[in-house]
Amino acid sequence: MNEVSAATRAVRVALVGNPNCGKTALFNALTGSRQKVANYPGVTVERKEGGFVTADGRPVRLLDLPGTYSLRARSPDEVVTRDAVLGQLAGEDPPELLLCVADATNLRLGVRLVLELKQVGRPMVLALNMADIARHRGVDIDVGRLSAELGIPVVSSIAVRRAGTEALLAQVGDMIRTLPPVSGEPCGWSAPGRAETRALQREADRIVAASVTQPAQPDTVTARIDAVLLHPVWGTLVLLAVLFLMFQAVFTWAQPPMDAIKAGFDRLADVTGALLPDGLLRSFVHDGLIGGVGAVLVFLPQILILFLFILLLEDFGYMARAAFLMDRIMGGAGLHGRAFIPLLSSFACAIPGIMATRVIDSRRDRLATILVAPLMTCSARIPVYTLIIGAFIPNRAVWGGVSEQGLVMFGLYVTGIVSALGVSFLLKRVVWRNTPPEPFMLELPDYKLPSVRNIGFGLLQRAKIFLRRAGTTILMMMVVIWFLASVPRPPEGATEPAISYSLAARIGHFMEPVLAPVGFNWQIDVALIPGMAAREVAVASLGTVYSIEGGDEEVSRQLGQTLVGKWSLATALALLAWYVFAPQCASTLATVRRETGSRGWAAVLFAYMLALAYGSAFAVFQIASALGAG
């Protein structure tokens, strides 16, 4: 009976390799769409697992571990890799087989990792990935010799090509047939000292020299591209152009699909409006569910376009170059060059941005990045900006076809960036005054053509994560807000709008004295609360609060007109200033808490953003009022 269960039980295989060795591409190729992305308990390192079946019909559970140069882990990512390989990760069974991946075009660091992993004592197989690129460059690898030197099976693989992983699959299948049982005895690995690392690298270099023949003419494509992209002047200009193109795409390409999603939800609202009788249920479905979730889902195209750029640049090998170019500039503000990628992601949403800080080894640099990432103007602020700017800022050309509205929007983005740099500068100069800067050490991988399949998988994952969030957190918050705004029902013969009798109105009136100095009335105060779930919900909430009926599109337009009648220009500008900092985003705070492992840092983030929001809104309101805009 034991034999039967042993033959059908899924075999645990862990995928280990250096960063940039094409490990994720190989994972995608082996598992296809059978992937699950989750978090390891307690840390926000993404846990990626997928499945495939060997030729014998044995199911395999493949665990994709974060890339590392050594098991001597430093960053949270690398700690996960070490603990998973050693079988010390809580809630995770030790892997039965290690599938090592090395970049065939540059084997020496990969081979050293293999030598280190051999000490763990588990069965191993080495995949020489990107074998096609190596062959194309004339790098000739004696696979038999390499296998003999390493004492483990070695197979070439091409993750991005169909059938490029067949040999690897066959090898893994063979090894699974004869896997020894996982022994309970402690493994032979201990953190290597410097002398051991030196010795391992020398041994790795010897093995590579013995089994790899380098081409007579080295490949110069990467060097020639870098001559431009890493040029101090041209490289910086290209980076700026890439960023400009990216933002242009996020705002223009995303418009048609966003309009389509909006129209879809409007139609859905019309249908349910016609089907359901007037009353609480209709209000719940119409205003709460469709209005609320629709207002958030509209941002899916923008987020996907932003991630398309980020994934493309990453796959191409450009992201590390961007960090290289930005290191000095960001270093002046106390940020690490590697913080560039997380901060860039934060323009879509601070949450993936904060999660991307995992690549930063040093805790101090990571914290600084996490604390300023929410100051980058995320796409959730866009609807709030658009609403207020559209209503209060005249749409006239200032100079050269630049509109005043566009200028204000640009100004809000710049304010966000400048304050992020300012805050990190203060952190560096005041809080961490006595800590010298962390080193900047980053591999610049050779350029390669992005793989359509990889990009597709990446986008699909991002879409899933976003939709899950919209379907859970945001949906729940919308139900709560709808409840607060609708309960209790107005008494018979009420003269005021229904919301004036609700719990929301009471909360708003309660907050009024505090927020009056910044020019906010109780309606705005109420809208700020749902903004806790997601900033963009504030727009929908303002709509609910001002008791306006109609489709989403119409609400936005009419809402603008209503606001012009109800608010002074000073109030509108103060709200814009508030939203540059807008601390209220529960998911961001939750992510910061998880990522930093402490409530304290989330509280610090909330407090300092609240102070900045209040302070700047106060200053803007008072100055604008004094200038006669009150």
Partner: protein, 119 residues
Amino acid sequence: MSISLSVVSLEDWTEAPPHDGTMAPRVTPLGTAALGFTGRIHAVDASACSGVPAPAELEHRLLELGFVEGATVEIRHQGLFRRDPIAIRVNGATIALRRREACAIHVHTTEPRTPGTRR
């Protein structure tokens, strides 16, 4: 500030006697070398570097990125401000470092690369 420091240490190194034998080339810290420098690693030793991470850790991280004694290095690129950071080609891989950390890598000059030689 870091520039003046670098210059001082560069002078220290160039005025130091050759490491071994009379024909041995001069050993300099990679962090002070100019763009286009090609050479071979003589020693990876961060004991003269203060700061974060601790010298032993910095040395270990450099080793893990493939900076070991005997490896060939070439400074391929440098940043806009203060010629920092630098991109170093080391035995077929390109690694970006700040000049400050690169000072832990002591190199001696070899003849500039000619077409056809192995990198």
